[in-house]
Assembly symmetry: C2
Amino acid sequence: MRSPSDSAPLNLLREEIALPAAVIYCTRLQHNLHWMQRFADERGVKLAPHGKTTMVPAFFRHQVAAGAWGMTLATPAQARVAAEAGVSRILMANQLVGKQNCADVSALLRDFPGLDFYCLVDSAQNASQLGAFFSQQEQCLQLLLEFGVSGGRTGCRNADQAIEVCEEIAHWRSLKLCGVETYEGLIHGEDAEARVRTHLQQTRDLCLDLIAQGYIQCEPVILSGAGSAWYDVVSAVFTDHDDQRILPVIRPGCYLTHDRGIYQQAQAAVMARLQNQCCPVGDLQSSLEIWAYVQSRPEPDMAIIAFGKRDAAYDAGLPQPELHFRPGSDQKPTAAPTAWKLTAIMDQHAMMQVPQNADLQVGDIIAFSTSHPCLTFDKWRQLLVVDDDYTVVERVETFF
Amino acid sequence: MRSPSDSAPLNLLREEIALPAAVIYCTRLQHNLHWMQRFADERGVKLAPHGKTTMVPAFFRHQVAAGAWGMTLATPAQARVAAEAGVSRILMANQLVGKQNCADVSALLRDFPGLDFYCLVDSAQNASQLGAFFSQQEQCLQLLLEFGVSGGRTGCRNADQAIEVCEEIAHWRSLKLCGVETYEGLIHGEDAEARVRTHLQQTRDLCLDLIAQGYIQCEPVILSGAGSAWYDVVSAVFTDHDDQRILPVIRPGCYLTHDRGIYQQAQAAVMARLQNQCCPVGDLQSSLEIWAYVQSRPEPDMAIIAFGKRDAAYDAGLPQPELHFRPGSDQKPTAAPTAWKLTAIMDQHAMMQVPQNADLQVGDIIAFSTSHPCLTFDKWRQLLVVDDDYTVVERVETFF
């Protein structure tokens, strides 16, 4: 048995890796990386992938090298990780609140003088808190006004609220309004597409109004939206105007590994809307799996798998068996039969139902897809990137 | 703003900590630590707290110092963390499966020659795999036979299965059967207590039979059960026999921080069963909270809190607001009104419903309890232990 420090590459099929392990297919990840960048390029929008999905600085560097305009992050701590990874433009798609959080961003701006940093604001109260803090620091904080979904999450709900925030920002030389942001992914249910479209049009029109009224005076003006479900509609609506100052920015995150659950469904809807026109070749590919052993076959129709909530997302459906492999055999992993289904998951165990005659034994390996990817990544300090032969080509660290 | 490296202790109420943060009350943790140890001592059972709950080696050391017989862990990687923390007896309450996992345990036994290590077995196939592997290593692996719940998780379902496993173990000089283990916490629903009791009696009687039949020849014989919900019943049933060789071992884990959700309910049932007789003074206390800022008040009855699934468990009910604090005031935190309720949680945000006239503003701090604790711990690399004045007295690291 070799240790990771030995020079020969380790292989999953030779059981040289302790399971459970989080496994990423290098080829598919690279495909997804370039697919989304090409999509953005073709649609005339900038890509600021949401880094909170993976929190893997090695992937941030790939995303920037592939052409990303910047990275999106969710917290000051995440932003520092990205800056330390060499990312020079960060959109913190969140409000900045609290003395120590402000101090952390202040230190970030001081430590990385070339960093182009933005965060969101949606209340005059927060604008006032930020204005006072960054005045004391003699620093200038770049802000995007957040426009929100009624009944949804953060963000001003109407133009009056937005103007109130803009007025407060205008009082402070330490604050600079640089654009408008929204997150349309909160809109679900009936007529979702029409409501998403309307919301995005309102966001775009608010941005144009704020430019016209002089609240936004910089250039370019950032107009940003889009998680991994509606980036096609955001790209269409946010480029549908004549103002050359506006820079549309999309922020998908889950596209990088994709999944076999909610984002596979969302992407199918994207592809249907696009009718496969003007798209990059192919489609996003699920590239993240949890590999685990069958540890028990206590009943004829039940297998217990040695992984659980400590290892995999379970918030958008239970993990799905994708591959089956029997160590010691010369065969490659085969597709797991569709009749094999997880029925429950606990902290360190998962229960899988199988037909009574299933050829499945203790020591077999099952690879599972999960949904959604963010909540699988944050369970691991290290993930394994493998080639098409299941040889580990890189161990990437997460920084949660 | 001071950094953690400065000497003066940091205080949560002075906003010297970036939020969200995971906060543990030192006094309550110490209370829980000693409460459960006293319970075990009084009931004549040994305590092997499940360390997977916290995966905080600093807490493992407290638990051992307080009198724990050993620590329970779930995986070889967790077992190594415990051994490196100085724990000299480890019950890995799980099957050991797979070449690299076996190699990791083999290395652990070599690296810690004094370590008293046990793991579970519930199939002849696994016993055979283990026997072959540890023969090659010229090592002896100590095993506990797992007896399981029908329709539940791992573990032999009946005596015939158990005997088959014991026969296989007996073939291998590299394997030693040292007792019987079960996890009764899988039994839920109607008549749960009666069914738990019956299951535990069957487990105990199986252990006595295996001793009588000569399958277990060591001394003491370990007889282990109990998560944090039924440890009183396990203690009663596993001491209700005349065999002096048997050492009853309970393995609760969540008692250390306790919670305000499923374990609070489970503990209320324990206390009701005990009718407060022979108990240590007092009761377990919820000691783990997530502290976070109000980041937005976008609608009169809605507050958005800057924490989410990335920070807190959400598998056993949403986090509950416990305390409200307005920075800059001289007042202590006050109990959060019961009318404040989380309605949804996303990766980095939580939505809280409040009455329209609620005195709650951007920049206020809310402390939340969560349930269950295991899945809050694994979201953090560091948790803050605070004194009764909310001053940070220790930062403890997790090793997931």
